[in-house]
């Protein structure tokens, strides 16, 4: 398997390049949108919610932006992963290529654009006076876990979507639920009671966002959330690989 990966390394590069190139083709600002889009969204969210829900103990703009960046990568990445096999149906029918390449490339191109958009976060944080310290280095953990988690879910969803087109819609609704359970523009403590807080704690994406925020604000990590997100993303990737490999030979019959 490792040998074939090496052989198709260049293909992975080309597929990722294709996604990024085509995304901004025919737009004047091109890749600058990667920075502009989260910045403008943040401004809207701050304008709308800062009075209403923005009773955060930390800087609200940085709080919103850090949560939203992670969520939008997760949301776009899983959606792209879900469609990755079906959108490459014409190619899958013609040439043999390891099929996980399509999912891997879709998630990876989203990840690269996500990493670029982190520049906005750095800039906003510095402007708002949130400076990095030693704990900021721990941002590597949430950044890695969100990638692994998205890839794992992408593989599962891609497989399901080949057989049942419903998952495209179901997942859209699931994503909305996940968004409201991730405390992106409010603090979870403000909306959840003692009885409902476990719902948030069970959301692995919320764990990732919490870890990421702790790193951004330079606060000591929450070990429980860290271990939960690491464990969850590992398990999800394994399940994803297993499901995908079990079913990939049947894909062509349903595309």
């Amino acid at each position: 398997m490792f040998k074939t990966f090496k052989k198709y390394q260049y293909l992975l590069y080309e597929l990722v390049k294709k996604d990024i190139k085509l995304k901004y083709r025919n737009s004047y600002l091109g890749v600058i949108w990667t920075l502009l889009e989260p910045l403008l969204t943040m401004l809207v969210l701050v304008a709308v919610f800062s009075r209403l829900l923005g009773k955060t103990t930390t800087d609200y703009a940085v709080y919103v932006l850090s949560g939203r960046l992670i969520y939008s990568f997760f949301s776009n990445g899983t959606k792209a992963g879900l469609k990755s096999v079906r959108s490459h149906a014409a190619m899958i029918k013609k040439v043999y290529v390891p099929k996980y390449m399509y999912t891997l490339s879709c998630v990876s191109s989203g990840y690269i654009m996500f990493l670029i958009s982190l520049i906005v976060l750095v800039a906003v944080a510095l402007v708002r006076g949130v400076y990095p310290n030693v704990y900021t280095l721990l941002a590597v953990i949430p950044l890695a876990t969100v990638y692994v988690m998205t890839l794992g879910l992408g593989l599962i969803l891609a497989t399901l979507d080949v057989f049942f087109r419903d998952f495209e819609y179901l997942w859209g609704i699931a994503l909305m639920l996940i968004m409201y359970m991730s405390g992106i523009f409010y603090e979870v403590a403000d909306v959840a009671s003692e009885k409902t807080i476990w719902l948030f704690k069970l959301n692995p994406l919320y764990a990732v966002i919490e870890n990421f925020r702790n790193a951004v604000f330079g606060v000591a990590p929450n070990m429980e959330a860290t271990w939960f997100s690491l464990g969850f993303s590992g398990v999800v990737l394994l399940i994803g690989l297993f499901v995908f490999y079990r079913k990939q030979d049947d894909f062509i019959l349903h595309l």
Partner: protein, 248 residues
Amino acid sequence: MAADIISVENLSVRFRMPEQKVDNFKEYLIRILKRKLKYKEFNAINNISFSIKKGDRLGVVGANGAGKSTLLKVIAGVLKASEGTVKRNGKVVPLLELGAGFEMQYTGAENIYLYGAMLGYSKAFIDEKYKEIVDFADLGDFINVPVKNYSSGMRTRLGFAIVTVVEPDILILDEVFAVGDAKFREKSEKKIRDMFEKGATVIFVSHNEDQVKRLCNRGILLDHGKLIADGDLDEVYGKYHEITNKIK
């Protein structure tokens, strides 16, 4: 004695088609609960064995739906065998419905790299062969235009140029010449002949009898997934006409 470059042993490909198309989850669950998920088994290829020696030019003959394209897809590795094995000794390059795998938003030049990568070429290799591909495809300024604006003939030309640049050990050609004008047909036939001379093995599917007889030196006849004849082309075509006449 030349070694077998491809050997197909007891190959069967079965499609399991649901009697009604079920592609939503609710329907699927309901049918599982009611135990009403019926499948119709359908043998696209039924227990066939043959081998191809290096330098053979094999014509695959048969009526529509005989399993020709399925066989090629299995040899190309796109489709998995249900039973039996296909052994390949060398680089297989498939030319199945040319140009259908292009990214429509991409220009011709960009597609050369993308398509090349899918066929497992390296970047250095494509860089080196880029000019040769462009020259052969003969697209002129259209090489920098998105492929969605190409005519089907132009797409075929580009696809053919990319695929044949490798000098593969085994070349699979499925109805390649159905599109493309006379000039291109002549040019690509010449290219294929060059490959013969270099010792490439070719598997060729076409409904054009003259062309098959001109390009191939051996034939197999498929009918409803079964191997009916294997050998000399005149003999194979003799059987083929016998079968089709019987139906009439």
